[in-house]
Every structure is written in C-alpha cells, then in structure tokens.
C-alpha cells in the first residue's frame, strides 16, 4: 500500500509541477487567453460546459471503440489466415505493407463520400488505422512458437485446429494485448479525423467549432478529453490484460518487472 503510494507520488508531482509552471508563466507574462489559456481557465471552461460535452465524448468513444473492436477482430482473423496458408501470406503481406504506407488521414475525405458523415465513417477510419498493429502483433505472436513444439504436435498427428487453439493463439495472447495497446490511441485519432472532415458531433467537431469561435480554452478541454478517453481505454485494457495474464503468463510479467 505504502509502496503503491510512493510509486504514484512521482508522476502526480510531475503533473502538478508542470501545471503550476504553466499557470505561473501564463499569468506572469500575461499571455492572452486566445493564444494559451492558463490551466485554471481551461478548468473553468470545462466546468461551465461539462453538461454539453457528455454527448460528444460518447459519440467519439463509440466511433473509436467500435473501430478498435472491428479492427482487432479483422486483424486477428487475417493473422490466423496468414499463418495457416503460405499462399495467403505471400498475397496479403505486400498488400499489408502497401496499406500501411498509405496515409489513412488522406483517405478520410473519400470515406466521408462513401460512408457519410455519421458514426460509420468514424468506425471505418478508426478500424483501418488500428487494424495494422493488430495483424502484425498477432502474426508475430503466432509465429514465435518454438519449432520443436510444432514437431511435437506433428508426432501426435495434431490437427491444424489443435495447433491453432492449443499452441499458436495462447502463445499470441501477450502480443495481442500489445497490439491492442498500440491501437487504442490510433483508433481515437481515426474517430477524431472523421469528425474533422464533416460532422455534427464528437470531440473533433467540438475542436472545430471552438477554433471557429476563437474559444481556445474549449479546444484544450476537447483535446484533454480525447487524451482522457485514450487513457481510460488503455487502463481498461491493462486491467483485462492483468486479469488474463497474471496466472498463466506470470513468467512474462516477472521478466518485465525485474
């Protein structure tokens, strides 16, 4: 308990110190609010508008989480397909690399044409950018299996299904969690970019409107809410990861902590 407090003390103090310097600097140098609002101003703006912001947080969260879930499932399935067919792997790998080289943000306007300005576009953009880290990580997790385990499975005439469910997927679990953690902030970027294009709600929309009104404190509020959303998703995933890994993957957790 005491150790936990001490571990939390350093980051909390760092953030508090940062906010304090920010506040003091803005007041001291009389930086205009439209250029850089002080933390206290941002906070007051948040309190004032909080009742209006809930719906926007919700809309962005739905887009990001929806895209994340679909992207994760698609990535997982694709990785499974690629480990089980050399032909599929040789076809899909170059496509994946090309896909990753395309800046998804540049495609956002096209997605708006295809899918409109609603939730669907948010989900699609969030999906296409969170998909790649999922494929790559799952693929790595499934293929970094000791070759001798495959030999062992071969000598007992194991089916592909047995190898997949008993060896490859369990082996990939820690990698899948790493992929998800990388994908979380990406999915929020995806949802917000969709809102930047054209929309009538969401945190991206809030940023656009606030910039239009030169309401800089509101811009900061929206951006901080995005960060908070990303952090809570990350924390949630870490919790799930801990619950799944603490027993069966203790050998990995122990290695990380030392």
């Amino acid at each position: 308990m005491f150790q936990g407090l001490r571990r939390a003390a350093v980051p909390v103090a760092t953030i508090a110190g940062f906010l304090a310097i920010w506040q003091i600097a803005v007041v001291l140098f009389r930086v205009p609010t439209w250029l850089l609002p002080a933390p206290s101003v941002i906070w007051l703006e948040f309190i004032k508008q909080a009742h209006l912001l809930g719906i926007h947080v919700y809309v962005t969260a739905v887009g990001a989480i929806g895209g994340l879930i679909i992207g994760a499932i698609a990535g997982l399935l694709l990785a499974v397909a690629m480990t089980h067919s050399k032909v599929l792997e040789s076809i899909l790998m170059p496509l994946l690399v090309i896909d990753q080289s395309i800046p998804k943000m540049a495609l956002a306007p096209i997605f708006v044409i295809w899918f409109g300005t609603g939730t669907l576009t948010r989900v699609v953009i969030a999906m296409v950018i969170s998909f790649f880290p999922m494929v790559i990580n799952t693929l790595r997790g499934m293929t970094t299996v000791d070759k001798r385990l495959n030999d062992l499975m071969h000598t007992i005439s194991a089916s592909r299904w047995d190898i997949l469910t008993k060896i490859q997927l369990p082996n990939a679990i820690p990698y899948i969690f790493s992929g998800l953690k990388v994908a979380v902030p990406l999915s929020i970027i995806g949802a917000v970019v969709a809102e930047f294009m054209q929309s009538d709600s969401g945190l991206g929309y809030v940023v656009l409107i606030a910039v239009g009104n030169v309401n800089t404190p509101m811009v900061f509020v929206a951006v901080l809410l995005m960060a908070l959303l990303s952090l809570s998703l990350f924390a949630f995933l870490s919790g799930v990861e801990w619950l799944t890994m603490r027993r069966r993957f203790q050998h990995l957790i122990a290695r990380v902590e030392h």
Binding site: L152, T155, S157, S159, N171, R247, R248, Q250, H251
Partner: protein, 292 residues
Amino acid sequence: MNIGTPLTSSPTRDPSRDGLATSRADEAARVRPDDIAYPKAVIELKDVSKTFDTRQGKVQALDRVSLSIRPNEFVCLLGPSGCGKSTVLSMLAALNRPSAGSVTIDGRSADDARKENKIGLVFQDAVLLPWRTVEENIALPLEVLKVARTERASRIKAALNLVRLEGFEHCFPHELSGGMRQRLGIARALSFNPRVLLMDEPFGALDAITRDKMSIELLQIWERQQKTVVFVTHSIAEAAFLSDRVVVMSPRPGRIAAVIDNPLPRPRTFDVRDTPEFLVLQKRLRQHLSEG
C-alpha cells in the same frame, strides 16, 4: 514412398531377374523362424542416407546408416555435433524422410508409426507450454488424441506418479527446477503410452549434479515402463551409464563408426561408474569417437 524401387526396369521379362527375385523371396522365408527366436526389431534403418540442400550446396548429413533396435532396448546415439544423430532421430519421428534407404518402426513406415501414436519425443530443455500447469502440460497430447476426460485424469495421475511430480500438478513450468521440468517433459511424452521414446540430448541443459540424478531416474522409469529408447547424446559417460548399446557416429558425412554392446549389469547405480568395466567401456567409446 517408392525409394526402394529400382530406377531402371526392363520392359521384357528377364528370366535371370525373375530367378533372383524368387531366391530373395526364399531367403526371406528361411529367415522367418529366426524372428520367433529373436524378437523382431522395433526400429530398423536400412542404408539410410540423407542429403540436405543448403545455400552452400548439397550437404550429406547421413551416409548409408543401417541399424536395428530390439524391443525395450536402450540405445544411445553418441557422436560430436554434425554427425547426423539428430537427423536419425528426426527421421524416426517422421519429421524428415531419408533421401535413400528405409526407416521402419514395427515393420511399417515411420509415418505410419507416427499416426499410430507410437512415438514419444523428449527435447533438450523440455519445451513445455509456459501458460499451462504441470497437469495441463501432460494433458496436451491426451487432448489432441481425444482421450476421454476421466481416462485423461487417471493417465495424468499415473504419469505424475511415474516422474515423481505429485503435489506439483497446479504449478507452472517456470516455478519448477530444471530437473523437474525435464521430468515433466518425459511425463508428457509417456502420457499416451508410445512404443518408442526418442530423446534428443534431454539432459544437455542441466547442471552436472541434476544430470546425474536424472540419469538414474530415467533408468528407473525405463525399467518400470519398458519402452524402446533412442537417446541422443554427446556425453561418453552418459551413453556408457544409460545404454544397452552405444552407436558411435562420426561426422561429415554422418555414419556409424561402431556399435558397442554395453556389458554393464542392470539395474545400475552410481557405483557402476567406479567399476573397471565402466572405465574400459568409456575408453573404447572414446577410441571409436576419435577414430571416426
């Protein structure tokens, strides 16, 4: 596999060839009574050669290796690295096919033997599933072989008892010592009662003291289980202590330099290593190794 078929065949009937064939058949018939007197070989390698294609060109890993292993025999393949001992083992496990010659287990191809679950594999450093407990690791082959749940439980219990891991069923591999992990590897290999146990330098990663203990344990397990064991090692002392016969192999290309019968009495204890016979055997093995 049609490796044994001749490359040339005459379209017309050749009387001399037919004659040869019948005489071979007669020979086979005459040999048969002996089979009853001497137990039939479980493992039979006939003129097995193996070449691998590498970037440096063709590399001959094995050159006409012939060997037959009797039921319940403990045979050690001894040799330096590159002598093809692991290649022999992988052929017995049907992970590899000979380029020429034949490998049979119980008179059938290694692949058939594999399909009939006659082969148990034990590796260096055990190769366990870190996310499975001790009993779940033993259960792995039983699940794959679709052994019923109740039957599975009793087999796991028997395997745990055999390798003295009772009380550790719910531990994870990383919580076990190196020797215990290796015992778990053996228990997993024996859980489905294979006829042949193939062991690839199983104690190679263990410290000397644990290694000695494991040797004794392995002999005890083998005496209780009566399996045919093919044990790959590069330790002369280990081969001399464990085996009924030692197959000394030499490298480039891998071939059999000598097959030495082990005269040491069983059951063996550590004391056997202080007897003159043990030292003589070790000396002979060393000589053959250096000659090959």
